[in-house]
């Protein structure tokens, strides 16, 4: 075999190996996308799907996020809805109380700049963007206190913006909810 032919043959081997690797790489990529789609559709695990807007200049005057409506409420169907606001530099309510082993819907927004809600040791993690409502579904299995820092820079007091989540027994929550109104653990 001449040098030219050897060269040609080795170029073909190189191209074949390379094609094989490219195929594997494409399969990896396609698998990742398919897994995400499967988990999203089958288990309904996905980031916030819907876009809802709200005027932050008026949230304290009327509608869902007026002060009297913030906190946790036991709905007729047994689920719990938590409404909260982030503002420089605190959450309202600063301590959120919720029952264990219960489907909970967190609905929150910002009164001024961009904030974020993160509940440590859980996957609850969402941005609060003024003008929009964030919604997260959550469920706690462990009773106890969780820290809830603001996870997005919101100006000079950001480092001081920490809230708390108190997960209590389901029966205890139901008991406290009997009186109606909105529950929180501020001052407890």
């Amino acid at each position: 075999m001449s040098a030219e032919e050897t060269h040609q043959a080795s170029a073909e081997v190189a191209a074949r190996v390379e094609r094989r690797w490219a195929t594997i790489a494409v399969i990896i990529v396609v698998m990742m996308a398919l897994l995400a789609a499967f988990a999203g559709i089958h288990r309904a695990t996905m980031p916030q799907p819907r876009v809802e807007t709200i005027d932050p200049a008026r949230i304290h005057l009327s509608g869902e996020f007026v002060e009297g409506n913030l906190g946790s409420v036991l709905e007729a169907n047994g689920t719990v809805t938590v409404r909260a606001i982030g503002q420089q530099y605190s959450f309202t309510p600063a301590c959120i109380v919720v029952p264990a082993d219960t489907p909970i819907t967190l609905r929150a927004t910002s009164a001024d700049v961009v904030h974020g809600i993160l509940i440590q040791a859980t996957n609850v993690n969402t941005m609060l963007v003024p003008g929009y409502i964030s919604e997260q579904l959550m469920r706690f299995t462990r009773i106890g206190d969780y820290l809830m820092p603001c996870q997005e820079f919101c100006s000079f007091g950001h480092e001081g913006m920490w809230g708390k989540v108190k997960v209590i027994d389901k029966a205890e929550f139901a008991d406290r909810a009997k009186g109606g109104g909105r529950l929180s653990c501020v001052g407890q």
């Binding site: 990529v29 999203g40 927004t109 001024d112 440590q120 969402t126 000079f156």
Partner: protein, 540 residues
């Protein structure tokens, strides 16, 4: 053939000077918010420093490296004097002016909005104008790269464009289009408010605009590193590029799919719906492809070098590599960090997993590992490789160079691994201090301390880097010879038009960006009632 050495050196020196300042600020930040520092009486100082660190490391430093390296590639790979040198200096001075203009309001505490801007927080208008000037200066470079390639093509009709230049021009187009997202945010939204012409701003729309820039900018930072992987490393260690066409395909893939994926930064945002979040997540998976191809091609190229040096066996060849060669060392470190950082990146872009680490210290750890680690260590290697050709003097401190690279690698691992860990524990980003006295936060104290120590190791390495380059300006004159790039095993005599030109791929890049971003942007821009009052930073 490097003719305009002064131009290239000016870019590199300015890049490394601002890098040194920003690195020092970074190390101070690590220290001051760790348990070994004392609480700042004024946390605002931390955010000033953070804004300066991010602005320099994100916008100024990598842009200058890409520009200086780009001019060097244009002259050395095309073997042609740079066309438009006067314009190149205009671009350089625009970046100087922009940087100064941006840094003054930052230093005065009038622009502590971080390099990601975060409207409705609004800082001093000169901060944003400074950033715009930096970008405009870099766009001159983009135009010059295109012009120089065109001049060369006219003189060499149909000839394969040298790989380094092909990639360099792809990187410049990538940057030109990437920067448009942030430019739209600045020009249409932020600057009118900062200048007092408007008082409200749509924060959700701004976040979408910024995501357009925020992800692909990473691939712009990455380009010089990948160009070095393909066109410098094999030559420096005595090997060949395994495949010229696979290299071209990788750079083309970066150009096309780096852009329409940025919304994976907004998974946790309420202003984008699930559909586009999923599309962007899937496209982000696609961007792993050019990296997977590159890892294969570069490992194969390195193996060629090892076998040429007498390496034998399935893995035995690894021992035959020139491990005392700084380029070999830098490549190995870069690949290790790219591996860990890339694995973390797959978690970040995952539709489901992102929620557990979004906006935690994990993210900070991730991009420091990828950018500060895998990318910047190759910037060092590029500088070491080019320096003798730019100064006409030898870099004699090879041992010191190796130590510097080792320290950077160790420092980056010590900094970022604990950072990832506290992120998993839920530690939020960008906080001036933490109350380690809180029993729930106390367990993170050790990790944060380790990170701070890593920061000091990095600072030491950065200082060594600058000292090595500075000493390299005073060693005796040598003839470094012409600057060469690596050749492929099968160096192509002809290249298909699709792998030799950019037009088709630029069209695809723009088209995909419009399909993936057009609807969400229009939808947000046309919806009313989502603009919110600006919150001015530093205003009394």
């Amino acid at each position: 053939m490097l003719v305009n050495r002064k131009l290239i050196l000016a870019h590199f020196w300015l890049a490394f000077a601002v890098f040194g300042i920003a690195l020092t600020l970074g190390a101070w930040q690590m220290f001051i918010r760790s348990p070994i520092g004392t609480w700042l009486s004024n946390p605002e100082l931390y955010y000033r420093s953070l804004t300066a660190h991010g602005t320099v490391m994100g916008y100024v430093f990598p842009t200058l490296v890409a520009m200086g390296f780009g001019y060097a590639i244009s002259e050395a790979a095309l073997q042609q004097r740079l066309v438009g040198v006067r314009w190149a200096w205009v671009g350089f001075w625009l970046i100087v002016a922009g940087s100064v203009m941006a840094v003054i309001p930052i230093a005065l505490g009038r622009a502590s909005v971080l390099y990601t801007f975060y409207p409705p927080l609004i800082g001093n208008v000169f901060y944003y104008l400074g950033v715009v000037l930096v970008v405009v200066g870099s766009w001159i470079w983009v135009a010059l790269m295109s012009v120089n390639l065109r001049v060369w093509r006219r003189a060499h009709p149909g000839a394969p464009v040298p790989l380094a230049m092909f990639a360099n021009v792809a990187g410049s187009y990538l940057w030109a289009w990437t920067a448009v997202g942030a430019a739209l945010e600045l020009l249409l939204q932020i600057i009118p408010v900062a200048a007092g012409l408007k008082s409200t701003i749509d924060a959700g729309l701004a976040r979408v605009f910024f995501s357009w820039t925020l992800h692909a900018i990473v691939y712009f930072w990455l380009m010089p590193t990948y160009i070095a992987y393909y066109t410098i490393v094999p030559r420096a260690i005595g090997g060949r590029i395994y495949s010229d066409s696979m290299a071209r395909i990788s750079f083309i893939l970066f150009l096309v799919v780096a852009m329409p994926i940025g919304m994976h930064h907004t998974f946790a945002d309420p202003q984008v719906g699930a559909g586009f979040k999923f599309i962007h997540s899937a496209f982000t998976a696609l961007v792993a492809l050019p990296t997977l191809l590159t890892v294969f091609t570069i490992c194969a190229s390195v193996e060629i070098a090892a076998r040429l040096r007498g390496g034998r066996g399935m893995f035995g060849w690894i021992r035959a590599l020139p491990w005392d060669n700084p380029m070999m060392l830098a490549l190995a470190f870069s690949f290790i960090m790219l591996g860990f950082g890339g694995a973390g990146g797959l978690i970040n872009m995952s539709y489901q997993l992102d929620a557990s680490i979004h906006n935690t210290q994990w993210i900070t750890g991730h991009f420091h590992l990828i950018f500060g680690g895998a990318i910047v260590i190759m910037y060092f290697a590029i500088a070491y490789d080019l320096w003798p050709h730019l100064t006409g003097r030898e870099l004699i401190d090879v041992r010191l160079i190796r130590t510097q690279l080792w320290l950077w690698f160790i420092g980056m691992i010590v900094t970022t691994f604990p950072w990832h860990w506290v992120g998993i524990l839920g530690m939020p980003r960008r906080m001036a201090y933490f109350d380690f006295g809180d029993p729930a936060i106390a367990p993170q104290a050790l990790s944060v301390t380790l990170s701070a120590i890593g920061g000091f190791i990095l600072l030491a390495s950065g200082i060594m880097f600058i000292v090595i380059l500075a000493r390299g300006m005073r060693t005796p004159k040598i003839d470094a010879g012409p600057y060469r790039f690596a050749l492929a095993v099968h160096q192509p005599a002809t290249v298909p038009v699709a792998l030799n030109t950019h037009a088709l791929w630029v069209a695809l890049m723009i088209g995909l960006t419009l399909t993936n971003y057009g609807y969400p942007i229009l939808n947000l821009a046309l919806s009313s009632g989502t603009s919110v009052p600006a919150v001015y930073v530093g205003a009394q």
